[in-house]
Symmetry: C2
């Protein structure tokens, strides 16, 4: 499989690099809204795939994640009967996705992998969101790539193959890292190598996720430092 030849490592971001559930839960807590904060976070996130599906199906024209997040937020606020936020507060809350905190191992692991590889995002999040997040969190990307560049959302093959085209590398020289098997499945179908990273608490400590390994992936890692170590041993 030419494992020594991985040149570009692309990372899914929400859940894989950053802890959306914990970050949003803490922000909702700090606002003192009369809701169960973790439930609010999960509801907001659960609107994400359906919203992107409306874009991919053509029902909605091309729409950035910031705008999809806002559409979902308005629904979720109504669902939780929160009517006392003004427009500025809603805009600020919507940008919590720009302020998500990385998992404890993310920054150190990325720095290790950056020594020998080109590391980039490959997220459905928009470029501004991902740039602000990187600046806030100290994520040392060589390049920020997004569905926004390709104007298609994952799992469209054009997004995965777009990474290879941007860096002028073959698909087997490119690897996707994600905490979601469906994302990895789609990347593998395009010929990319794949690494699954366990993020057991992606949906909160009370809702541990199945992090079983799948032998179809090139790597299975506990966290980014484990993955960096496995890559170093090639």
């Amino acid at each position: 499989m030419g494992l020594g030849k991985i040149r570009v490592i692309a990372f899914d971001v929400f859940g894989t690099v950053v802890d959306w559930h914990g970050s949003i839960t803490r922000e909702i807590q700090s606002l003192g809204l009369p809701v169960e904060p973790g439930e609010f976070a999960s509801s907001w996130r659960s609107g994400y795939q359906p919203a992107m599906a409306r874009v991919s199906s053509g029902e909605l024209g091309w729409t950035l994640i910031d705008d999809l997040h806002r559409m979902i937020l308005d629904d979720v606020l109504a669902q939780f009967s929160i009517f006392n936020l003004d427009e500025d507060q809603k805009q600020h809350l919507n940008k919590v996705w720009h302020r998500l905190k990385p998992w404890d191992d993310s920054v150190e692991g990325l720095k290790l992998m950056k020594e020998r590889h080109t590391i980039c995002t490959l997220s459905n999040g928009n470029l501004g969101l991902l740039s602000n997040m990187a600046k806030n969190a100290g994520l040392p990307w060589d390049c920020i790539l997004s569905a926004e560049v390709f104007r298609k959302y994952k799992p469209d093959p054009d997004v995965y193959l777009g990474v290879c085209q941007v860096f002028d590398v073959n698909s087997e020289e490119t690897m996707l890292v994600a905490a979601h098997q469906s994302d990895l499945d789609a990347a593998r179908a395009c010929g990319l190598q794949t690494a699954y990273v366990e993020r057991r608490d992606e949906f909160g400590k009370n809702s541990p996720k199945d992090v079983s390994s799948n032998n179809n992936n090139t790597f299975h890692a506990r966290d980014f430092i484990d993955l960096a170590n496995q890559l170093d041993q090639l």
Copy 2:
């Protein structure tokens, strides 16, 4: 003019951040080709604007700078009667644009400006080229933006306004930094603030450039450190 509100600083790259003439001259010298190295560098670069104009006019479909550079290189090699490079050598030489060296003040100046602003590229160079250059040269971009993202070349207004859209900021909160008045003129026409940076030796020490100031620019700076200091005094 709300000078205190500059949030995003976008940088032209070739000639402004990196020294294309010196870098290519040195690489041609090291190859020992039977040409005057500086002349070869200037000839290669002189094909750049006409090649992009062919894309902008529609004569050529969307074409990345890596591919335009290669088309020009083939012409320039013939023009200088160099016929002894094989395909691998030509591909490697073409990627000299990925290996351009920054001006002495670039990295330090960018780090200073990054403390208070979002800093990004805004170059006609493609994303892979700009990412490899940043990795080689230690350029600390928050985000790499390119004509490739907008599928238009500067000076198309969509490229300058695209920066504002990506970061969800107004044009007056956005500044273009360049060593070329024509680039700054186009940005200013879109409402961006502008900073001219003197790069007297862009075309080599033997061909010093006119670096006169233009009062229409928001800033005129000797180099990036001077510009960072001027921004700090706002």
